[in-house]
């Protein structure tokens, strides 16, 4: 047995699985596809997930809901117990209600797709090297004399040339203004920050004495709905802090079209710009406060956003993006001082927005394609960013084509009644028992649920469909409310209760409603339709795609098989699907550390072909056919067809077994 791994077997299912030592029992059960009723997300509050440890060392953290007698008999709460050794665990009848042991469920299949990580980049991104666009040079200048009477600026340039071989460095104007006083106060012992803008080297900041040791940059994914940031140590290349929040522009409109419309009002553009700037600034503050980095350690920002977000951040009028023939102001954006747009971190901090391809395929996709390494690969790769705009790119090192379809923010938890980002208390995994329709939920941080995030929504949709609570249109079958209290008629149509008020962190029932599901259906249909149109455009079928890379801010991961069940992704071998995480943020991070990749991003933006879907009359047809679970053409989803039949059979057997018992 591998070091640090333990083997746990669940009975009566007799389902064994290997997990990391210290893994939570409920999460292990989720992985093994063993149903244990659990409603409070794993906080140990509801006390429903009682299991009996028959063998092995299982450490129980809280015992609030267990009696002395129960503890003696080996009971633990699965959600707050950890596996310290190999173990046998029995799920007693009350924790699996009705799930008859005689029923065999399908063996667990890999739940999460493979997530790309640092070790993949060496292969995927040979261009990457730790060589950031800004570098601090500690310079001990010769003091000027009558013989050596170079100006202060030329003196610095001479030293940079001598020390680092940098030629023709331009000294930034604001630096000149502080130069005479500062270098003398520092006794000519200074640190100069040099920005490599590609076409020129520019000295952008001067500080007293040696500050070259602490240097950091900020990577930003500027999403329509969510903004995610990282504070990156430029010496080690490590991410030392992360923060994310909803984009402050949301209050001016949820999608890019309404933002563009708002920007054309009198002071609209300025308001939108300042909302984005404030969001980024707050996140930077949060990150700096978490670490021992100082604001003055930060020397540059790399920001990737869609074309509209980039325009709005830079205060550039985006109105022509919206009207035929959909023209953005710029595709490439120069390095500018962050203070020019109101991000005042320290003097001489420059920022760069990743170039875009067209009005609806922006720097976020370019950054993602960069991070995925698909532009280096022989393999035909499909890269899909599941955000408010479902953008995707198809191709390999020789060609790239991209398109964008408006998916809406549902997968980011917006436009969903109890939707939220993947933060503490967000339901991130859901299982529903076919027979009892009882849920098993796990939340981020094992806290009582306060809402549901993207991965939880995809899970919930798939489980509601498999268990027959949803019909193929994605409508909750409210007639089930006659036999099951979790299904009911709400104010806005049917709803399913994921957690009751007394188990939730908000003292309200956490529900998923018909309108929520409508939004999710529209989002998944738009993305699936986009995939098909893109493939059709180049005369390919999905079978010809060797690798599908998924990016998006879902939470910890996306369960690939669930995404296929709901028809968000095509029904292909799950081995071919890999998860990139937040591709836009990853690309920003990589560019912040490596100026080679900044140049590479420019190449990608230049080589990518753009396919405009708004004028594509096939899109609507594809969209309507995808507006069904899993799809109008079920034959395109053979594995889902099979799972549906199995789930229906299990439910039928379960009902019969339940009937006999009663």
């Amino acid at each position: 047995m591998e070091n640090g791994k333990v083997r746990v077997c669940f009975y009566p299912e007799d389902r064994c699985i290997e997990v990391d030592k210290g893994e939570n029992v409920l999460r292990a059960a989720m992985k093994a596809d063993v149903h244990i009723n659990a409603s409070c997300g794993g906080e140990g509050y509801c006390g429903k997930c009682r299991v009996i440890v028959e063998k092995g060392d299982v450490k129980q953290k809280l015992q609030v809901k267990l009696s002395e007698e129960e503890i003696k008999r080996g009971y633990v709460l699965a959600c707050s117990a950890t596996l310290e050794s190999d173990a046998d665990i029995r799920v007693p009848i009350e924790s699996q209600i009705g799930d008859k042991s005689a029923l065999t469920r399908r063996p667990p299949i890999p739940l999460k797709g493979y997530t790309l990580s640092a070790k993949d980049w060496a292969e995927r991104l040979p261009q990457w090297e730790l060589n950031p666009p800004t570098t601090k040079f500690h310079l001990v200048l010769d003091k000027p004399t009558l013989e050596d009477n170079l100006s202060d600026a030329e003196r610095i340039k001479r030293e940079l040339s001598r020390l680092a071989g940098l030629k023709d460095v331009v000294v930034d104007f604001p630096m000149l203004q502080v130069l005479p006083g500062l270098i003398r106060a520092a006794s000519f012992d200074v640190t100069v920050t040099v920005l490599d803008r590609g076409q020129e080297l520019r000295a952008v900041r001067i500080e007293k004495s040696d500050t070259s040791q602490g240097q950091a940059a900020i990577a930003v994914d500027l999403g329509t709905t969510t903004v995610s940031t990282q504070l990156v140590d430029l010496q080690t290349g490590k991410v030392i802090a992360e923060a994310s929040d909803y984009n402050g522009q949301i209050s001016f409109g949820e999608d890019i079209i309404s933002r563009i419309i708002y920007s054309t009002r009198s002071t609209g553009l300025a308001k939108l710009q300042s909302a984005a700037v404030n969001t980024i600034w707050n996140l930077i503050q949060q990150m700096v406060e978490q670490t021992n980095m100082e604001y003055c350690n930060i020397t540059h920002l790399c920001i990737s956003g869609n074309t509209t977000m980039t325009h709005l951040l830079l205060g550039i009028d985006p109105r022509y993006i919206r009207v035929d023939p959909y023209i953005p102001v710029a595709q490439y954006f120069p390095w500018i001082k962050a203070s020019n747009i109101g991000i005042r971190i320290a003097s001489g901090v420059y920022m760069r927005c990743t170039p875009g391809v067209a009005s609806y395929v922006g720097g976020d996709i370019v950054a993602g394609v960069l991070a995925s390494g698909m532009f280096n690969s022989e393999k035909i790769t499909l890269y899909i960013d599941i955000g408010t705009n479902g953008e995707m790119a198809l191709g390999n090192k020789d060609w790239l084509i991209s398109c964008s379809c408006s998916a809406g923010p549902a997968f980011e938890g917006a436009g969903v009644k109890h939707g939220m980002r993947a933060t503490r208390g967000a339901i991130e995994q859901v299982r529903i028992n076919e027979v009892t329709l009882e849920p098993m939920i796990i939340t981020v941080g094992n806290k009582r649920p306060i809402g549901i995030c993207g991965s939880g929504l995809i899970d919930a949709l798939a489980e509601l469909f498999l268990t027959g609570i949803l019909d193929e249109r994605g409508k909750i079958k409210t007639e089930l409310s006659e036999t099951n209290p979790r299904v009911r008629q709400g104010d806005w149509g049917g709803e399913y209760v994921l957690a009751w008020a007394d188990e939730s962190g908000t003292s309200r029932d956490i529900v998923i409603t018909d309108p929520d599901i409508d939004n999710l259906m529209r989002a998944k249909a738009a993305i699936y339709a986009g995939i098909n149109i893109l493939l059709e455009e180049v005369g390919m079928t999905v079978d010809m795609v060797e690798e599908i890379l998924i990016a998006g801010a879902f939470g910890r991961y996306l369960e690939i098989d669930k995404a296929i069940i709901i028809g968000l992704l095509p029904d292909v071998d799950t081995e071919r699907i890999k998860f990139v995480g937040n591709g836009s943020l990853l690309g920003s991070y990589l560019m912040a550390l490596s100026k080679n990749l900044i140049a590479e991003a420019d190449n990608i933006a230049n080589m990518m072909t753009y396919l405009e879907l708004s004028t594509n009359n096939k899109f609507m047809d594809q969209y309507v056919s995808a507006l069904f679970l899993p799809h109008t053409h079920i034959d395109d989803f053979p594995s889902v067809k099979l799972r549906l039949e199995e789930a229906r059979e299990t439910a039928r057997l379960g009902r019969e077994a339940g009937g006999e018992g009663a």
Binding site: D471, E472, R473, D621, V624, S625, L627, F628, T632, H633, I634
Partner: protein, 312 residues
């Protein structure tokens, strides 16, 4: 060597659906409409004659005149359609139940359906007033009242398919599934109905009809695509016979009903509406309609001749 016409043959065919309790069948073809040189069209397209239960008052005199002695009596109307105009089917519309109109109770209308179904020997289509909620009750009552007649109940749509489908299942009737001019939506409703337990062999598809000048080309295209999916792609959820609801749509057109006094340039009003109905019906027959619902006796006679000549 003599020229041989290339043939595109298909292994697939449209399901043959039995209407009523006799030997009237619809569908069954393995060819695109009237491509008789490529395969079989075992059943002629059928003409269903419209009968209303609410004594329609607003109709153009051009169409009301030949019906004047039966307008108030659906049973007599149906018999006349059968005996004098040679209707293949009766399409009874229970318009009196419309909540925006007379709002008659479902039960009363169901008795009319029963009386009509018993008075004629040809199969009957029973359409509600196309009010989503009321139709559920009306069609359920009609299903009960006509049990044993195998009528076509409809239209079932996305919002009431459960009620209508269940009524058809429970009382062994056939269902007409109606969706708004879209191939995918039509297919989706078939899937929903079949998941409900309705036999796919008991479903007709009404893809919504646009009359000449009012979206005919959309209906044409949808019907054509539906047939192509059924026959060329062997898509089992599109292999249902198609209904074109011509009469009601053609006679809605201003060009069909405007009096000559108002529009002198448009020509003889006595011919105009009839031609409008004929053109709409014959176009949709060529597009793939297996049943055309029609209104004016002269239009019915002419379209029958069109079908005769197309069937060779």
């Amino acid at each position: 060597m003599a020229f041989e016409m290339p043939k595109e043959t298909s292994e697939s065919k449209i399901r043959e659906v039995t209407l009523g309790t006799g030997d009237v069948k619809v569908g069954g073809e393995n060819i695109l409409p009237f491509y008789l040189f490529e395969g079989e069209m075992p059943n002629r397209p059928l003409i269903a004659v419209e009968v209303y239960d609410d004594n329609p008052q607003e109709w153009s005199p051009v169409v009301a005149e030949p019906l004047k002695d039966v307008l108030a009596d659906p049973v007599a109307w149906a018999k006349k359609a059968q005996d004098e105009w040679g209707a293949d089917l009766i399409a009874l519309r229970l318009k009196s139940t419309d909540p925006k109109g007379d709002d008659k109770p479902a039960e009363e209308a169901a008795q009319t359906a029963k009386a009509v179904a018993e008075a004629v020997s040809i199969p009957v289509i029973v359409y509600g007033s196309e009010d989503v909620d009321k139709d559920g009750d009306v069609l359920k009552a009609a299903a009960v009242a006509t049990e044993g007649k195998n009528v076509v109940l409809g239209p079932a749509n996305e919002d009431n398919y459960k009620t209508v489908g269940a009524a058809a299942l429970g009382y062994k009737q056939t269902v007409a599934a109606k969706t708004p001019i879209d191939v995918n939506l039509a297919k989706q409703l078939n899937i929903l109905l079949s998941n409900l337990g309705v036999d796919v062999g008991n479903i007709l598809v009404d893809p919504t009809t646009g009359a000449l000048g009012y979206g005919l080309e959309y209906t044409y295209s949808v019907m054509e695509r539906f047939k192509i999916a059924a026959l060329r792609q062997d898509d089992s959820m599109t292999q249902m016979p198609l209904i074109a609801d011509v009469g009601v749509e053609a006679w809605k057109a201003k060009e069909a009903k405007a009096p000559a006094a108002d529009e002198p340039a448009w020509g003889d009003e006595n011919k105009r509406g009839v031609l409008w109905e004929i053109l709409t019906a014959s176009s949709l027959l060529v597009a793939g309609a297996d049943v055309v619902i029609m209104r004016h006796p002269d239009a019915i006679k002419t379209v029958r001749k069109v079908i005769d000549s197309l069937m060779g």
